[in-house]
């Protein structure tokens, strides 16, 4: 059942908040005299904050379709709205601190950022392929601009160019896949498509469509072999943008990946929290292989990187691989593990990028050597980064470990031992390059002399990011409850 347009409006407050802020920012941008005024940042903060608040407070309308079924309001969507809004908020803070953006037009930047946020909101709740495509482009197009935001820099332009071409191609292929699905089922509603596919159609076109759609989502979450754009874009983009891209759109990509595949190619089974394949497309195994390949490639290539931003880009590819483990199992426990992982990943990955911003502010670049001696130059930042990196490795008592435990656990529970083993070995490999940064920070003499001063706000932000990373590693019961309830709603 779905609500009409007017009746849907009360459930659409987060999107309204973001939209309003974007509009206000445009006004500021056009009217404001000082393009570097912090007003824009403040406005973005307030807007994102209120979006976060509204998203959090959204009444749990279980599986309610809004706007005649264009979007759906369920716990799953709410979860991703909160998550992406939170990521955006942190990125706003990060952007304020980042040297790369201080001499750029502020309002414009936040307009793009919040547009992406709006796109992510819609993407995580889209239930119609039209809306899905629209949301995906809403995420993508401002992202292209954000990646190229450092207009004077070659690398930024190059990144942006590659991103736009790659993104356009991927979405083109995806939309072709959509067209096939539409042709097979005659509907743009994904639930209808799912039901129609379940009643049996020819296998090959369905497979072709599935593969083509996979390109679009795979590009969004940067899964191998659709990941090629991401290292280049991550390296060329401003650091906060990289941080943002590696968390926000990736999370939203997972949201739509899960929603789309679980609705279209699978259906809930009798037992609680189980799905079964409803079409002839055996995508779980496909994605299991992609998951293994993704994490392996991400980790292996990350080893040889000398640019921390690029290193973290590959690491985020690897993490996408880990998260895909939860996706392939056709259980809500697996999805729960993904959601949990996304939460902890948000904190640890943004945290790591935050420290990169702080270091780059001092050295104007983010080569590994810039981090040497950070342990003495800025102990707090260095310790925080160490925490984030070890959390990313998945070592207790940090939250990343718990995230991995949930993922591994469900994989093992389903008997996909090989995947668990590959993932486990991958964590060992990942230690090597994460520890390399730690080693440089603590075990080597500084290249840059002098203390690296970290201002008060970044300190607080670091603390805000470190605390959950530590806390969720020691006590994560509430978090897993949230993840659990978010998954449960999706099924209805």
């Amino acid at each position: 059942m779905s609500l009409g347009n007017l009746a849907s409006l009360p459930y659409f407050l987060p999107e309204f908040a973001v939209t309003a802020t974007i509009l206000l920012l445009i006004v500021v941008h056009v009217a404001g005299r000082n393009r570097r005024s912090p007003a824009a940042a403040l406005l973005a903060m307030v807007g994102t904050g209120s979006a976060l608040f509204f998203a959090w407070m959204t009444p749990a309308g279980a599986g309610t379709g809004l706007f005649e079924g264009m979007v759906v309001l369920d716990g799953f969507a709410v979860f991703f709205k909160v998550l992406t809004a939170l990521a955006t908020l942190i990125v706003v803070f990060m952007s304020i601190d980042c040297y790369e953006l201080t001499d750029k037009s502020q309002a414009e930047y936040y307009i793009f950022l919040l547009s992406v946020l709006l796109g992510m909101f819609l993407l995580s709740s889209a239930s119609d392929i039209v809306m899905l495509y629209l949301a995906l482009e809403l995420v993508s197009i401002p992202s292209y601009l954000l990646a190229g935001y450092l207009k004077g820099k070659d690398l930024s332009n190059e990144a942006s160019t590659k991103y736009v071409v790659y993104g356009a191609t991927a979405s083109g292929v995806m939309i072709y896949g959509f067209s096939l699905l539409y042709g097979m089922t005659g509907s743009t509603q994904i639930s209808v498509i799912g039901n129609a596919l379940a009643s049996g159609t020819s296998a090959l076109p369905a497979l072709l469509a599935a593969v083509m759609v996979t390109v679009g989502f795979g590009y969004k979450i940067a899964a191998v072999p659709f990941h090629m754009w991401s290292p280049d874009v991550y390296e060329g983009a401003p650091i906060p943008v990289t941080a943002f891209l590696s968390v926000g759109p990736k999370a939203a990509g997972f949201a739509i990946l899960v929603r789309f595949f679980y609705t279209v190619f699978a259906s809930p089974e009798g037992a609680e929290g189980m799905w079964k394949l409803s079409s002839s497309v055996d995508w779980p195994f496909l994605f299991a292989v992609l998951s293994a390949v993704t994490m392996t490639v991400g980790n292996l290539v990350a080893i040889n990187q000398s640019n921390v931003k690029r290193l973290l880009a590959y690491s985020s590819i690897a993490h996408a691989g880990y998260m895909m483990m939860g996706f392939v199992l056709l259980t809500s426990v697996g999805l729960k593990a993904i959601l949990f992982y996304l939460i902890v990943y948000l904190f640890m990955n943004l945290g790591a990028f935050y420290v990169v911003v702080l270091v780059a502010n001092g050295s104007r670049s983010e080569e590994i050597s810039d981090f040497s001696g950070l342990g003495t130059r800025a102990p707090l930042a260095a310790v925080s980064l160490a925490v984030f990196l070890f959390a990313l490795t998945g070592i207790p008592p940090f939250s990343g470990f718990i995230g991995k435990v949930y993922l591994f656990a469900e994989v093992i529970n389903r008997g996909v031992y090989w995947l668990a083993l590959v993932a486990a070995l991958n964590s060992v490999v990942s230690l090597y390059y994460y520890a390399r940064i730690v080693k440089v920070m603590f075990l080597e003499e500084p290249v840059h002399t002098g203390e690296l001063t970290v201002a008060f706000v970044p300190r607080v932000m670091l603390a805000i990011l470190v605390v959950p990373t530590l806390l969720f590693g020691v006590y994560w019961e509430p978090v897993i409850r949230i993840a659990e309830s978010s998954v449960r709603l999706l099924t209805n």
Binding site: F390, T393, I395, P396, P397, F401, V405, F408, A409, I412, N413, Y417, A420, L421, A424, L425, S427, V428, L431, Y432, A435, V438, K439, F442, L443, Y475, W476, E477, I480, R481, E484
Partner: protein, 509 residues
């Protein structure tokens, strides 16, 4: 007092952590204060260990019977997946807990001359103690694993920052190696979790004791073949820690590069975790697989004994020699355990305790000479016995204790291992027993090259061992001697449990 009594294990585990927190909050530049706080924080578990010693009921076994564990603390930690905060002690863990308390304290005292970033050093050392203590107290597998991994980080930094010239290499090697072992353990742990239910709640559980109670079901873990895989996964994890040939190559590097006190802890306690893990986890959870696997284990033990000793003989670095001697000595633990006889099992456990003290002494002593001469090249010394008689006395005691001279605890342990395992694997034990010759040879050879013979004039002014260093060594030497003369005080602690363990594995119970 009640609080102390009912939370004694928690206190022992977390007091050092609290100390670390306090140290981190101290203002910079107050090095003496930092050391004092560290000493106090690491000392506090010692009286608690004494308290444990006096209140521990030696007549009950524990191992796989939950009601027989003592000083138990049992609360829910993460209810949704039934992770429990479950601490308790039995005869397998008691000696290790006490050893940890003592060695950690001595290690802090032994680190008094560290000058570089003392604050970080002490904080990490105390964090390390928390991890080690936790491993020995934990009865919930998840908790165990967390503590197990918690040790890695401080160890990595302690070797990596305060170590010798190749410290970075050694640190990352240690880290990667052990992480490799522990991820395998993690996978096995998860597999166990999903195949075990808590009889009370019906949910899956990480409670080790529940695992053990299921272990006799033939179809547990989907049959014997899967159990073999699980066992091997755990075994590799533990073997890396022990370290067993061929997983031992991290050890010489880590030892050589680590600062003295860290080597002490590494050899004195960390290595024991591997064998402790086998006793606590592998054996009672997989009794049938254990029996299936005894021959390979004994062979590995024998290889360790002989191979380690021969490698030790080839070394020219005194610390590396001691490190390889640890490899050799830990082989005894494995050999004894594999025999699955009371004498062998107790011998192995006693070897863990005894080797903890002896090797701690040895590393302290190597550190003493390194502090003064700034090298450890065995051939670079000569005739030191004439210059530093007291130091020579201590090292002689330690060396002879290490080579298994009767009167020292090492002999009792090794003899029990031999006695306990001979009937089970005659040839293997005969081969291992030849190790006693090689062990004697390399110890005496090293002793002679460094301390005996004509004096190397370069070291005519070598400084004698000082009071602080003797303070670290004397308790260990004394305990080694006393336990060598009369081992029952420690054996009584573990007898009941280990005999039960043997019975459990032999499926008598």
């Amino acid at each position: 007092m009640d609080f102390i009594n009912s939370h004694i294990l928690s206190l022992m585990t977390f007091l050092p952590l609290a100390g670390a927190a306090v140290i981190l909050m101290l203002p910079g530049g107050r090095d003496e204060l930092v050391k004092t706080v560290a000493a106090v924080a690491s000392f506090l578990p010692v009286p608690l260990a004494v308290q444990l010693w006096f209140t521990y009921d030696r007549s009950v076994a524990g191992v796989n019977v939950a009601s027989q564990f003592q000083f138990v603390e049992h609360t829910r930690w993460i209810p949704s997946i039934n992770v429990e905060y479950f601490l308790g002690a039995d005869g397998i863990s008691m000696p290790m807990i006490i050893l940890t308390a003592i060695i950690s304290f001595l290690a802090v005292i032994g680190s008094w001359n560290i000058e570089k970033q003392i604050k970080g050093y002490m904080a990490l050392l105390l964090l390390l103690e928390t991890g080690m203590m936790g491993v020995f107290c934990a009865l919930d597998f998840f908790l165990f694993y967390v503590f197990w991994e918690v040790m890695l980080l401080p160890m990595y930094f302690l070797i990596g920052i305060w170590g010798g010239p190749r410290r970075e290499y050694a640190a990352i090697k240690f880290f990667l190696y052990t992480l490799l072992g522990s991820v395998l353990m993690l996978l096995v742990m998860l597999a166990l979790y999903f195949n075990t239910t808590d009889p009370e709640t019906g949910g899956h559980t990480f409670n080790m004791l529940h695992y053990m109670q299921q272990s006799t079901h033939n179809e547990w873990l989907r049959g014997f073949d899967i159990r073999i895989l699980m066992f091997l996964g755990l075994f590799i994890g533990f073997a890396i820690k022990v370290p067993l040939f061929p997983f031992h190559t991290w050890l010489p590097d880590a030892h050589v590069e680590a600062p003295t006190a860290i080597s002490v802890i590494l050899a004195g306690i960390l290595l024991k975790m591997g064998t402790y893990g086998l006793m606590r986890i592998s054996f009672p959870m997989f009794p049938d697989v254990t029996k299936w696997f005894v021959i390979p284990m004994a062979v590995l033990g024998a290889i360790n004994i002989v191979y380690g000793a021969l490698c030790a003989m080839a070394q020219s670095d005194l610390k590396k020699l001691v490190a390889y001697s640890s490899v050799s000595h830990m082989g005894f633990c494995l050999l004894g355990m594999a025999a699955l006889t009371p004498a062998g099992m107790v011998g192995a456990a006693f070897q863990m305790f005894s080797h903890g003290m002896i090797t701690a002494m040895l590393f302290f002593l190597v550190g003493v000479v390194y502090d003064r001469a700034h090298h450890r090249d065995i051939d670079g010394f000569g005739g030191l016995g004439a210059v530093v008689p007291v130091y020579t006395f201590y090292i002689t005691v330690a060396f002879f204790a290490s080579l298994g001279l009767p009167g020292f605890s090492g002999f009792v342990a090794e003899a029990m291992v031999f006695i306990g395992s001979f009937d089970v694997f005659r040839t293997i034990v005969m081969i291992s027993a030849s190790g006693i010759i090689i062990v004697a040879a390399f110890h005496l050879w090293a002793l002679q090259r460094v301390f005996l013979g004509p004096l190397n004039p370069k070291y005519a002014q070598l400084e004698e061992i000082n009071a602080r260093e003797m303070f670290c060594l004397s308790p260990l030497a004394l305990m080694t001697l006393l336990l060598g003369v009369y081992p029952m005080p420690v054996l009584n602690l573990m007898n009941a449990s280990l005999v039960r363990l043997v019975d459990v594995v032999n499926m008598v119970i």
